[in-house]
């Protein structure tokens, strides 16, 4: 596994401190994590780093020691301007951008607002659209009984176990749980209570070739949304991942990494 550098950036008139985990070597790739923070996605990110320099920023508010950073951003306009600043600070020029779930919508909105800033776009089970006949579940208020099989096709599998696992050390346990909950709070600020904030009006502005990856058994956002995204984005294609839920990159990291790498030509 490639060595990982953690760079701490001060942004947004010094009101947001954020860590960016940088690993690998090759063409730049930005990875935007989902509502549960960067921690569950690290193994997947490491896989992407084989052939890319991966930049994985933590969402505002989810960097240790700076939870209140989330109060510095009020709306989607703030958020897209913020990501412009982040990309500039990292001196990124039209990198590939991969986003999962909530991170997928951030990636898509950024690609729509600054079409020349994203070279290629990968959206893994993104939020952002709504159909009354296929409502998206609010992942922040699900019982354990519903949440587990909604997130994972195999709710008793290794990926699900690892995702919900908490350390036995009491202090580490509290920290892990607090981060897991707070990451949902921070991302939830931009998608509560329904993750439809007008992306369908912006989608036509995406210029980057786009790959849409969807877990065929996603119980949070039904896979019909894959086509909903694809038909709104000019140059888009869809890859369904069998036997995977809302977190296909955790349940079947090899399969997801393979389609992503093929798409990126790496």
């Amino acid at each position: 596994m490639a060595a990982r550098e953690v760079r701490r950036l001060s942004l947004w008139q010094d009101r947001i401190q954020t860590e960016v985990e940088i690993s690998g070597r090759g063409q730049p790739l930005v990875y935007l994590h989902g509502p549960w923070g960067l921690a569950p996605d690290r193994a997947f990110v490491a896989g992407l780093a084989d052939g890319h320099t991966v930049y994985a920023p933590k969402f505002p508010g989810t960097t240790h020691g700076n939870p209140d950073a989330i109060h510095a951003l009020d709306n989607w306009f703030d958020l897209t301007v913020y990501y412009g600043e982040l990309f500039d600070k990292l001196e990124l020029s039209a990198p590939a951008v991969v986003g999962h779930s909530f991170g997928g919508l951030v990636a898509a909105e950024f690609a729509a607002s600054a079409p020349k800033s994203v070279g290629r776009l990968v959206l893994i089970d993104p939020v952002g659209l709504w159909r009354d006949d296929a409502p998206v579940k609010n992942w922040m208020i699900l019982s354990d009984k519903v949440r587990r099989p909604s997130l994972f096709a195999n709710s008793d599998g290794e990926a699900a176990r690892r995702f919900f696992d908490v350390p036995s050390d009491p202090a580490e346990r509290i920290d892990t749980l607090a981060q897991f909950i707070w990451a949902q709070a921070c991302s939830g600020k931009f998608v509560w209570p329904i993750a439809d904030r007008g992306f369908s009006k912006h989608a036509h502005r995406i210029a980057a070739p786009t790959l849409i990856v969807w877990g065929a058994g996603d119980g949070i956002i039904p896979p019909v949304y894959a086509q909903e995204f694809a038909r709104r984005i000019a140059d888009a294609r869809v890859e369904l991942i069998d036997d995977a839920g809302h977190l296909p990159h955790l349940e079947h990291p090899e399969a997801v990494t393979k389609v992503v790498r093929t798409f990126l030509g790496s």
């Binding site: 939870p67 209140d68 989330i70 109060h71 009020d74 922040m140 208020i141 699900l142 019982s143 354990d144 509290i174 749980l177 607090a178 909950i181 707070w182 949902q184 709070a185 921070c186 939830g188 600020k189 509560w192 209570p193």
Partner: protein, 408 residues
């Protein structure tokens, strides 16, 4: 007297049908609008009865989409109570309208000012942040914004009540170009402000910082609240505030009978109804990510004493023994309440004299016994040493002896 206005006639198998009192129960499967009309009226009757019996205040509250209590707009109830109690020495305690879920919050400033005018300056202005499910699910407030909206809204309301000139409010959550509130409250610069909370979090810090009255709305009794009250009084001392007990209010379920045995028999089914059916809300509707600020979240993960209690497994006897409900003869209730009042340094006791499926006749008996046999022994407790700075000025001269005399 505090009243929740619950649904009093849930199906016997409600617990089997629903895992939550909040959000999930489907109206047309469970409830009946004609019955609910009776319940609203019964609630008003019971509260007005309490006013005549000599209690000092009537508390309403705001909740949504649940069976546990649904005064969706407490100002509507408060308006009836204010009007019907004119001439009586009783406070109208709105505890109250939830600011973060009302836009613009000046709407609440107006409603409260109306209530203060109608009641002749008897309003206590309560401002809850709102239960997570109420604010974020029923009203769509973004969880992580709930508390900052609350603070901004309250600052706006207070300014709107007392500003001499028309002003512009350029806030983060609210923007109003010309604020010139009609009417203004009789009580200037503002009525006493009470703010409820279920524990010592950032809200309690804020309340003490602003010198408002903090109301600990626990349903687990004074017997189990010492940890919260200790932390509250430590906070008060740390912030350099005085130890005036009137800056602390506490809610208690109370059931008074002629004897201990009679009381236990009379209130058992209603206590079980309350804790098994009405209060049962699962964690995923309470601990919604963002409703607690980060520090408070860490604290709650460190220490959550009730996390392991399954209320539905507790029988009435357990609920009484654990002190969740103070039940017994007047003597027993007096002793237990006095002990709690002193231990917690409670200035205002919010007596929940109606709970669960209790019918009006029993509620009135409870009110009668409480007002006649218990209240006279509790009132005046702190008055030699402390002034209640969180009580309507116009009522102070008359309470409590005069109020009791009126009732007799």
């Amino acid at each position: 007297m505090f009243h929740l206005m619950p649904y009093r006639d849930l199906p016997a198998d409600f617990e089997r049908l629903y895992n939550s009192a909040y959000i999930d129960p489907v109206w047309f499967d469970v409830a009946d609008s004609d019955k609910v009309g009776q319940f609203y009226n019964a609630t008003l009757d019971e509260m007005l009865y309490a006013a005549k019996a000599g209690l000092h205040g009537l508390c309403t509250n705001q909740h949504h989409q649940n069976v546990y209590g649904f005064m969706a707009n407490p100002s509507i109830m408060g308006a009836v109570l204010a009007r019907q109690t004119n001439g009586q020495n009783i406070a109208i305690i709105q505890l109250g309208s939830t600011l973060p879920s009302t836009t613009p919050p000046t709407r609440i400033a107006e409603e409260y000012a109306m209530l203060d005018c109608i009641s002749g300056g008897r309003l206590v202005a309560g401002f809850p942040t709102g239960l997570p499910a109420d604010a974020t699910i029923s009203n769509g407030v973004i969880p992580v914004e709930q508390r900052e909206r609350f603070r901004e809204a309250l600052a706006l309301v207070i300014k709107a009540w007392s500003a001499r000139d028309i002003f512009a409010w350029n806030g983060r959550h609210y923007q109003l170009g010309m604020v010139n509130l009609w009417p203004r409250p009789i009580q200037q610069p503002h009525p006493p402000i009470w703010i409820p909370g279920s524990g010592i979090s950032s809200t309690a810090e804020y309340v003490v910082g602003q010198d408002h009255c903090f109301c600990h709305l626990s349903y687990y009794g004074a017997k189990n609240a010492e940890q919260v009250s200790d932390r509250y009084w430590e906070l008060v001392a740390r912030k350099g505030r005085d130890d005036n007990p009137y800056r602390f209010s506490f809610l208690q379920l109370i059931g008074v009978g002629e004897t201990d045995r009679e009381a236990e028999e009379l209130y058992a089914e209603h206590a079980e109804y309350f804790f098994h059916k009405l209060l049962y809300t699962p964690t995923y509707y309470q601990a919604i990510p963002g409703c607690l600020e980060y520090e408070a979240l860490v604290q709650s993960l460190r220490h959550n004493p009730r996390a392991s209690i399954n209320l539905r497994e507790l029988k009435a006897k357990d609920l009484f023994d654990r002190g969740f409900v103070v039940v017994g003869s007047p003597k027993t209730v007096r002793e237990q309440l006095l002990d709690g009042i002193k231990r917690l340094r409670m200035g205002h006791l919010l007596a929940l004299l109606h709970f669960g499926s209790m019918p009006t006749a029993l509620c009135k008996k409870n009110i009668d016994l409480f007002a006649r046999e218990v209240l006279p022994h509790l009132a005046d407790l702190w008055d030699d040493t402390y002034e209640d700075r969180w009580w309507p000025e116009r009522l102070k001269a008359k309470r409590p002896a005069a109020a009791l005399a009126t009732a007799s």
